[in-house]
Amino acid sequence: MELFLQQVFNGVMFGSTYAIVALGLTLVMGILNIPNFAHGHLYMIGGYITFFFMTSVGLAYWFALLLSVAALGVLGVLMERFVYRPLNDQPHINAFIAAIGSLLFLEALALVVWGSQGLRIPNPHPQIFEVGGITMSLQRLLVIFGAVGLITALHLFMKKTIAGTTIEAVAQNREGAMLTGINVNRVSAMTFAISAGTAAVAASFLTPIFMLSPSMGAILGMKAFVIVILGGMGSIPGAILGGYILGLIEALGGGYISAAYKDVFAFGALVLILSIKPTGIFGRKED
């Protein structure tokens, strides 16, 4: 029972990360129709930038986190402007290939600047609690509650502000949004900035717990893709729910069946579900 609860706790923590990362991806994929396959690598760069500000510059954890979010926002805007916007009216698959090019670039960048060995941020919140036999560290609790806070803030932004509603307008009808005077390019850039910024938050939350390495973005990015496709392109509740479900499946599958094969569950589920329903569970007909 204690093992079960411990696994559920870990699953919820992983799920929180997956939810945030998938949320960022679903914004650009569902709303702008851009298969940003380099999203996991933006996450990785976000983690490294937090590391940079903490260890090389010597800032406090929260300050480094904010700067990392800002830096990734800028990186997201640059990526939208110089990689994806020129490919707007070319076949979809070209954008996918461009994404692979940018992920190779970002991975090489991390390798060149920070080296291939794992790096670790000193844990800012090392306190540990024991509640009902479950061991939980303050940093892990922070991941869980931070994710809830971020999701709530993003929801309020999308529903209550004008800037947020323009994103939704573009998602519903690109031409219609243009006709009502919305600058679609600016909305694209903003969406990319939010998407990359949320990835930086997720990375900064998790890096005090796990090692940073240049290759950590690839698998996470693929998992985020799995979640977005299963949860429905552009569906924010789908991404959040899918993130938590995947986290729980992995933690329980890894704890009870096989730790070495825990990544197989996620990818196997995607292959299985897309074979049965080629446009995803809640998928719209794609164009």
Partner: protein, 334 residues
């Protein structure tokens, strides 16, 4: 129907002659090994070109099928089966795996197909690293025997121990693959492949069975990938999970895009030029991938036809200008 001008034919002949006499003028065994590997990558990338370039379905599991071929030959030859049986058997296993994977995944389209095949590739990579009894886990399999000598009547045997023999083995299979692909692409079936790429609903409505067409293309592409993988195992003499990894797929993709999608020479040019450039850029170390990642983005935005496609476009422009000049001077003299 598709006759080429005489200078193109001559160029191909010169390249073939250069390839045949290559062991004479490349004495450095290290460079020679790179060229031999390029031959393998050219085979695999040509297979990838069939499914991505000609049929328009972005399969990102190509490295996985390459890995199936490599592990197939490694496991079978270690078990005592002769290489000449293990190689076709491994390629057939890769093709059969392609059939099993293609049946469900080819129902998806566009990025969905890309991500599904990529997921399959990652699953296979994880399995290759963890199924220790069969694949040797992360260490892989070492000491794969070289192929046995080929008996030739009235002559004796051709031994296959030397590096040059390995080179000619790979070159032979590359020429065979290119010939088969040439016959395939310039056939009625090849036309239906391109029809599926250009407009799938239209191809469907004029009577092309799009699903079967895509499936056959996928299976053939994976057969070729398995073949290249099998040759890789015997030439390198060892396989590890990285032979089946997604980085292998991405490498093939770089060769394909930079060389020129949807052209037959493109993948070969890419598979030769990129590893050689990589070698020359050795001094750049890890900065090389920084360069190639950016190059991939620039090429896909501004030159989506790649090197060979760009060259053809240039050639067409030159020909068009020459014809215009001829017609203008014709008008002037009249």
């Amino acid at each position: 129907m598709f006759t080429k001008p005489i200078h193109t034919k001559l160029l191909y002949l010169v390249i073939l002659a250069a390839a045949l006499f290559l062991p004479l003028y490349v004495p450095d065994p290290y460079i020679f090994q790179i060229v031999t590997m390029s031959l393998l990558f050219a085979i695999a990338t040509s297979g990838m070109n069939l499914i991505i370039g000609i049929t328009g379905q972005a399969s990102l599991a190509h490295g996985a099928f390459f890995g199936i071929g490599a592990y197939g030959v490694a496991i079978m030859t270690k078990a005592g089966i002769t290489f000449w049986l293990a190689l076709p058997a491994s390629a057939l296993i890769a093709a059969f795996a392609g059939l099993l994977v293609g049946l469900p995944t080819l129902r998806t389209r566009g990025s969905y197909f890309a991500i599904t095949t990529l997921c399959f590739g990652v699953i296979l990579w994880i399995v290759a690293g963890n199924w220790i009894d069969l694949t040797g886990g992360h260490n892989g399999i070492f000491g794969i025997p070289r192929p046995s000598a080929i008996p030739v009547p009235f002559y004796g045997e051709i031994p296959l121990y030397s590096q040059a023999a390995m080179y000619f083995l790979a070159l032979g299979f590359l020429l065979l693959t290119l010939f088969a692909l040439y016959r395939l692409v310039y056939s009625i079936f090849g036309l239906s492949l391109m029809a599926v790429r250009n407009n799938e609903p239209l191809a469907d409505s004029v009577g092309v069975n799009t699903f079967v067409t895509k499936l056959v293309s996928f299976v053939i592409a994976n057969f070729i990938a398995g073949l290249a993988g099998g040759l890789y195992a015997c030439i390198i003499g060892a396989v590890s999970p990285s032979a089946a990894g997604y980085m292998m797929t991405f490498n093939f993709l770089i060769f394909l895009i930079l060389g020129g999608m949807a052209t037959l020479p493109g993948p070969v040019v890419g598979a030769f030029a990129i590893p050689v450039i990589m070698e020359f850029l050795q001094f750049m170390g890890d900065y090389r991938m920084l360069f190639f990642g950016a190059l991939l983005v620039v090429v896909i935005i501004y030159f989506p036809q790649g090197f060979v496609g760009g060259l053809r476009l240039l050639n067409q422009k030159v020909v068009a200008r020459r014809q215009r000049k001829i017609s203008e001077s014709g008008h002037a003299s009249r």
